[in-house]
């Protein structure tokens, strides 16, 4: 089974968060707990369900990832963009600098 992590959006501000091994929601995908089997994914999802735990996130779900060189990289482009922020060059103040983002999701300037 492909490795998976649990993600959601934080209720108060909508920011993307990832479930850690300590069962807290963290903004850094690299701190997410990686589950490698079905039972662990189901247990993590059960733990993160807003109906039974804290009501501080919206709609948690599992995301397939690859762990390479100690970095957690979501497989789908959508989830990589969620993890790293918009890919747009020349972004406005407050966004993370482009250098901090994954090089592989930045647009190739033709």
């Amino acid at each position: 089974m492909p490795s998976q992590v649990i993600t959601a959006n934080r209720l108060t501000d909508g920011r993307v968060v990832w479930l850690t091994a300590d069962s807290v929601w963290d903004e850094d995908v690299n701190r997410a707990a990686v589950a490698d089997d079905k039972a662990s994914v189901e247990a993590a999802l059960a733990k993160s369900n807003p109906a039974v735990s804290e009501l501080n996130v919206v709609e948690p779900y599992a995301v397939e990832v690859e762990v390479t060189g100690g970095r957690i990289v979501p497989k789908s482009l959508r989830e990589r963009i969620r993890a790293e922020g918009p890919t747009i060059a020349g972004a406005y103040a407050g966004e993370r600098p482009a250098a901090a983002r994954n090089a592989d999701i930045r647009p190739q300037i033709a």
């Binding site: 482009l77 747009i88 060059a89 020349g90 647009p107």
Partner: protein, 552 residues
């Protein structure tokens, strides 16, 4: 401009108070997301990929400078110092926190703004020609009618749970700058033989996964019957529009399935039943609303401005900007100015708080304090003395807002795409940026001439790709972004849906493909005066297809 009366202020404030309570209950865990979602959507609050998004209504795209400054201040205080102007003449903030939204709505209410009916299955913000009240070719100002429709449709109890969303656009000129033929109801102001004002009515236009240009429903609707007739249309739609399938719920599908004659018969029958009732618009009421939109006090000026001519002679960049961004005005000596929000390599429709403030200042100094938003995602100063054009230009240069490209290849419509939107399949903004870098050099754009490129990151078509002269649709193919091209679409009075060229292009290929289409047009046009759209309509798809994919 229209000013809220006591009733408007009261219902907007009541809604802010109600939503503040709902947000508090959600944060306290008293409401689940399932319960809260429809409540937040009714107040323009979406949850996108990275954050909440707040969509603020700008009725018929008209703002005063005070309102624009408030939007700038909200962007700075609660967001990341910018906002995004949309194809529905609205403004979206991409990064507000849910906990702050009640305060944002309170600040908006203080300047007579809100986010009501910017989402959900209701009648959305009514849109209009951005040159309303100014255009030289205008029959009548569409905004008083748009305001009457706003008052009728706001919190209309019967139409709060329609089968799907419902969009109305209105044009006061025969040249359609409001894309009325791709709206659920399109209204074209006309005069009858006796000189009376009325509306030519279009119905069932729309884009999305099943695009249609509108059906022609009525030649002439007298102005006093505007509300009764629209109510009749909405009633027929509310009753017969499909509710079994979200993708078949818009009125265009009802038109397609039931047919024009059936729908017209039903609408006319309901209209005859209610036309002499409470919705009949007394002439005095129309005049009372129209008074809010009375033209400013213009000076008597010569048609040509010596100051403008001298500045053009001295500054070629100013001359190029005048050619592209300045439009004829009905009053001699005046012009309308489009402030391009499409810098080459920039994000279509985005403006920083500082830029919004710069435009508000210029509006106060030179344009009677009034600003418009166009569906092409630009801003407009509607009434500027030609003598003041150079001062406006200099102010725009200082704010990085003087790109001379209105209607040209880099004046691209793009939706937020997969960089922000939870519905998107592919990115739009980076593609727009790369195309504008490729085609945006002044000489290159001048060589190409009028060209509308429109990009959507998914089939919902917020970027209007179906009606782009060149349309680009982002799709997901096995996890990769691909871009499908359509050619020959148009959103004006000759509205047409573009033809799909064939297989899509990868992220690496798409800009080259656009340039191939442009070069094919230049090689095949009869003269530099034949526009891309004219040439496409003469030549058809085949030569472009061959250029893109090789001869079959």
């Amino acid at each position: 401009m229209y000013r809220y009366d006591e009733f408007d202020q009261q219902f907007v404030q009541a809604r802010v108070d109600q939503f503040r309570d709902q947000v508090q209950r959600r944060m306290a865990g008293e409401l689940t997301e399932e319960q809260f979602r429809p409540l937040r959507l009714m107040n323009g609050v979406y949850l996108q990929l990275h954050a909440y998004m707040l969509r603020i209504a700008i009725p018929y795209g008209t703002l005063n400078s005070h309102q624009l400054r408030t939007l700038a201040a909200i962007g700075r205080k609660y967001d990341r110092g910018f906002g995004h102007f949309t194809t529905r003449q609205n403004l979206q903030f991409n990064w507000p926190a849910l906990k702050d939204i009640p305060d944002i709505l309170t600040e908006l209410a203080a300047v007579e703004m809100h986010a009501i009916q910017t989402s959900g299955n209701c009648i959305r913000n009514v849109t209009a020609d951005q040159f309303a009240g100014a255009a030289a070719d205008e029959i009548a100002d569409p905004r008083p009618y748009a305001e009457i429709l706003r008052q009728w449709s706001s919190l209309h109890p019967e139409f709060s749970f329609l089968p799907r969303k419902f969009k109305v656009a209105i044009s006061g000129a025969a040249h359609d700058r409001a894309a009325i033929r791709v709206h659920d109801i399109g209204l074209q102001i006309v005069r009858d033989e006796a000189g009376r004002i009325g509306f030519e009515v279009f119905i069932g236009g729309g884009l999305g996964r099943t695009p249609f240009t509108a059906w022609h429903l009525r030649d002439f609707l007298p102005e006093e019957d505007l509300l009764a007739y629209c109510e009749a249309i909405l009633r027929v739609y509310n009753l017969y529009g499909r509710r079994d399938n979200k993708y078949k719920a818009r009125i265009k599908i009802l038109m397609h399935e039931a047919g024009l004659e059936t729908v017209r018969e039903q609408v006319e029958e309901e209209f005859e039943r209610i036309r002499d009732g409470a919705l009949k618009l007394p002439h005095g009421d129309i005049e009372r609303i129209a008074a809010y939109f009375a033209p400013p006090v213009f000076e008597t000026l010569p048609a040509e401005s010596a100051a403008q001519a001298a500045a053009e002679a001295a500054d070629p960049a100013f001359r190029a900007w005048v050619r592209a961004n300045v439009h004829p005005h009905k009053q001699p000596g005046y012009a309308s100015v489009t402030v391009s929000l499409k810098p080459v390599g920039g994000i279509p429709g985005d403006a920083t708080s500082e830029q919004m403030e710069a435009v508000a200042d210029l509006a106060d100094r030179h344009a009677f304090g009034e600003i418009r938003v166009s569906h092409v995602q630009n801003l407009i100063l509607a009434h500027v003395r030609r003598d003041a054009l150079k001062a406006v230009y200099d102010g725009l240069v200082a704010a990085d807002l003087a790109t001379a490209n209105v209607g040209l290849a880099s004046d691209i419509i793009a939706c937020p795409g997969l960089d922000y939107c939870s519905l998107a399949n592919a990115r739009s903004i980076p593609v727009a940026q790369r195309i504008s870098e490729r085609l945006g050099a002044p000489d290159r754009q001048a060589e190409i001439g009028p060209l509308q490129i429109k990009i959507s990151g998914c089939i919902n078509a917020c970027g209007h790709h179906h009606v782009g002269h060149i349309g680009i649709l982002g799709v997901d193919r096995k996890g990769e972004e691909f871009y499908q091209l359509t050619l020959g679409g148009s959103a004006d009075e000759t509205a047409s849906i573009g033809d799909i060229t064939g297989r899509g292009f990868s992220t690496a290929e798409v800009v080259d493909a656009i340039e191939t289409v442009v070069d094919t047009y230049i090689a095949r046009r009869q003269s530099a005066d034949e526009t891309f759209l004219e040439a496409y309509r003469r030549l058809g798809l085949q030569p472009f297809k061959e250029a893109l994919y090789g001869a079959a």
